[in-house]
Subunit: 254 residues, 6 copies
């Protein structure tokens, strides 16, 4: 199967790390396509950044529909544009916060999310609520590390993240850690070994879940809220996002 992992920010060094992580956990026959959109912010640390990342993300979904992609992972812990992406895609779409929280709820009594900047904590709590995972979420904690600092060689980010995870277990009463940024994907194994509890990275979790959905032929329900959007005029800069009256599936067959 072909799975597209979309890092919705435009920092390709992070996209490559994400792609490598996904490939390291993907099943033998799975092709992982890891991309950043052609447009959008270099990192996503606010609702404003999210809003501006979503059109580029949707462009990648639309392109994927023409390229025969079977399922998508949105690789930013805010899960930006998830419902819009589901409307657009024939196959399933999962976000990495969604994936990480779901798997964490299967292996522990409660988890702590350890994320980057404090201003993103509200979004993590919001997602926990809409996914039904709030009852498992003991706490959301920020290391006050900017997303791109995770990419900087020689940064002390790793130590600070491990420290915050340790405090989480001690103070929150949780027994599982959820890493709150796609840029932390490469730290997952190390932290798990140091702390001796399950540590869930959303990129790996999302890759596994999307493979499961595809192999079970479970695609987004097109019956109600998540049906394909109605075609309509879109004006100005985003004019090319107007959907064709006939979905691309048919065009592709031509």
């Amino acid at each position: 199967m072909r799975i597209k992992i979309i890092n919705p920010n435009t920092t390709w060094s992070m996209t490559e790390k994400i792609g490598a992580c996904a490939r390291s956990v993907a099943r033998p026959g799975t092709e992982i396509v890891a991309v950043s959109p052609a447009m959008g912010p270099a990192s996503i640390e606010s609702h404003y950044d999210e809003a501006l990342a979503v059109p580029g993300l949707l462009q990648e979904i639309a392109a994927g529909e023409c390229d025969g992609i079977d399922g998508y992972v949105i690789a930013c812990f805010g899960d930006p544009g998830l419902k819009a992406a589901r409307e657009l895609a024939r196959g399933p779409v999962v976000g990495i916060a969604e994936a990480a929280m779901h798997l964490a709820s299967l292996v522990g009594s409660s988890f702590s999310v350890v994320t980057t900047l404090g201003r993103t904590m509200g979004q993590a709590w919001h997602l926990a609520e809409v996914y039904g995972m709030k009852r498992f979420c003991a706490n959301v904690r920020a290391c006050e590390i900017a997303v791109l600092e995770l990419e900087a060689p020689g940064s002390r980010a790793r130590e600070r993240i491990v420290d915050e995870c340790r405090r989480a277990l001690d103070e929150d009463g949780s027994d599982t850690i959820v890493l709150g940024c796609a840029g932390m994907a490469d730290l997952c194994e190390h932290i798990g070994q140091v702390l001796g509890v399950p540590v869930v990275d959303g990129v790996a979790a999302g890759t596994q879940l999307i493979e499961s959905l595809v192999s079970l032929r479970l695609a987004t329900s097109k019956r109600g809220e998540l049906a394909r959007p109605l075609p309509k005029p879109i004006s100005g800069l985003l004019g090319d996002f107007a959907l064709p009256a006939v979905p691309p599936a048919l065009k592709r067959a031509a």
Copy 2:
């Protein structure tokens, strides 16, 4: 004071109706600026439409910050981009679903939302939850009327909406109606007279609430999640959305 009402779709006939409604309830000294963005979909009926409407909406917020706007109303019942807009604005921002639900909760025991297409009901329930208004929301009902059908001369939309409101009172046990689309603003008084219960239109409610916040000098808190977004590179089509290192307020003072 100067209040900007942003209809996030690009159908100006609807924007004019919304502006007229806002002006009809605004206080004597208030200047109402009603606009549609320069870019975006002609109507908003899906998460995809919302996602593509938000950049244009944010452009209008950014412009408003340069033009001395005191407060903003987002005039689409899905309240798209509300948190991003709050990050960007110095003054307060309210959505019309938010405004209508809050005021409805002050005059009745529970309300029914009567909206356009069934596929938007999920978003109405979602907003009711995040605003804390789910406990007052007896039901969300769709008339299966497309947004732009409300603009069509000679449409039977009005009758169908009144009928659905009547059924809502009879079947939901509610005692108040919330109109679920900015395009219904001009029907509010009529429906209230026919049904004899409070009928809340979000455009009028939002206009009043934003005037209240401005006159009380209550602006969005900049302490945490809603602080101004960090400046960062934004690439591609939306490149002009990159925020200046110095917020426009200072530039304006120069």
Copy 3:
């Protein structure tokens, strides 16, 4: 329009402060009538005090109905008698806890309530729940200051309240303050300037909201729970509270 602000305790110095605050935020054409009931406790700091304040409050509502009052504000943070008042009034009624919490939810991610005595904290939490505002309420905190101490010249109450507000922001993760007593109305601007976050006083908030409801002609729904009470005999000390078979509106027209 004529708005009646009822301080449900009988301490007139507090009533005058409340009236002054309401007038300072009211619209040009609004007449503010600020009163205390003729009967009831000197301050409200328990459920017992609330219960004994409500009959006097209702008497003021009944009188207001004869005097052509358009809307009412109940100016005690416990919002005593709110539903009974709504049954009795033709126009809208809001409580100051209700008003403050609603407006606070529009300008921040979460608020802390800072109130007087610890024993009233339960009621503040209760109101947050019934108004749907619990999800925005990060904490309720008491300064252990008696209500009437706020009226005492030379009291150090102001300093203690500012200190508690500062602790709230530091410890609760909130970004907005709600003042938990009508007697704090005159401190609102000062605290906001010191702390640099939105500080919401219920008297000002309630005045603005009731003006909004009246100007939108949104009155309490009379369809269900909040319909006018059925007339019936009331015996003993409160015998005069028996409602006439014909509501006073008709008498007034005579």
Copy 4:
């Protein structure tokens, strides 16, 4: 032990029925004192009625404190004045809605409340929520029978109540009935026999629960919200309700 059952309305025929019911289930050594207050409405069917019944109810609690009462039952399904009564009493106080809902949750999966007038349904739902019993409450249903109609000889109230209980079991998926008015106490056994499911009357339930609390020496906690109210001046008609600086317990010992 001495238990005081307070019917907070002033209809003594109902009080006698309530007293008889309580006596029929009380333990051998228990003295049941059933009273109506000296002041207040003839029946309680609105928030207004409740508000005006509470002072008389509190007077009966205060009198009971001088008379050596060990525990109190508030015998109206709206549980008016419950928290204020708890502040005033040394011993425990329970409401009949509270008692009935608690016991119903012990014998079934979910219950339906069958009550008098539709306008009181909101209060029943409210109580279910504050007692934590909402998850057990499948529905609240009204027979549209006025409270005093239950007292009228020859009324068809009994048949209508049985019918509504039967519909509740069929339509709500519940397996237990809670009778929603103290005036239905005498119907409990009959309805249980007809329907073959547990039928809980609050007067009987409250009598049993208060006996249990008294015999376990579990009295209202005086540590926080429910501590004895602070003494303070009360003016006007209710002036006699001002509490003495020294609680009556000590006076009684003199």
Copy 5:
């Protein structure tokens, strides 16, 4: 009436303490039968222990049905097997966590549970939720005392429990204590005297509640989920648990 108190572990010294406690609060005419099952773990401190205690517990219920037992109390704070026991019994069944939490909610604003091992805290929270008592539960605290340590002569368990209860009141904002283990039944009175707040022991609470239900003739509803299990083959070690096609009630009459 005949009440059977089942301590679902097999430590008879604890069963005797539980029986003595139940007898000390039971009504004059009540016969208390306190037993441990013939099979199962010596103490219950995990979900595994619970699972293995339940068959023995159900055996005691089945035996009770032949012996004319009127009601049952399950005397372990995890309330193991409660729903299965309700299916099996004709009369009512209550668990001691259930009983203690219900009564605690009647006498205070919120309670803290003080229990044995930290690993059982999750179950206490779970029960609080399913009984609707989570809103009253300020905290669950563990003393890290093994259940059987409570039985050891000369243990310092009592001091540690009192200390934890005191901390609960100071730190949790609660005003009532719930003892989280049947083995603490004999400490209830002492702790209440030391702390001056209501302290609720589940064995005493359960005894009183089951007596109330029996005397009100309120038995488990047999209409839906809690109907008698369908007879069917059970193979292997537990083969004797297969239910007879005809319930024992009829056999007993023979």
Copy 6:
């Protein structure tokens, strides 16, 4: 990897169907071991049946720990013994209700559960709540088909299930179906084709999820509630269930 699917009832024809379903979706390198316990009821349709199925289930987990099993699926929609199994196992354990509900929440807005007997509906709702999936669960519906009727050749069960699924979509507003019994695993594809919406079978979902957890090396956290049970004496019929002081993992290495 080696995955053990435990059908907790003792009907081996059903176990074989479950095993075949699991094998049909498992990854190439996965060995599926499908078993029924040596003891327990022939089908699970009540809390009593569940309680008696759990010891046999735990025996299979214990055996699996000696046999090098990597992960377990509990293949009964009531997910009996899930937490106890997690305590006992080193690797991960998932229940099929848990698995099906989680995956359903990823592909639709809300799901309906279609199950066997009405008396099991309460348990399905309970599981939806404890997994955080209640917000996605539009309804639980019963076909009133006994579990073993699904195994009977020539039964009309299939038609009735399809009919109930169709009604669910029409009446519940859901867009996804969850099959509420392991015995329906073979109907999943057919129903999906007929209805055109995602239909989730828990056996397939559980197989995929457990493979994901194992391949990500995510095992149950042993830090708190789910740590290995403390060894202790177990008496009577279940005496062999007493855990060794040294866990079997070490013995196996010897």
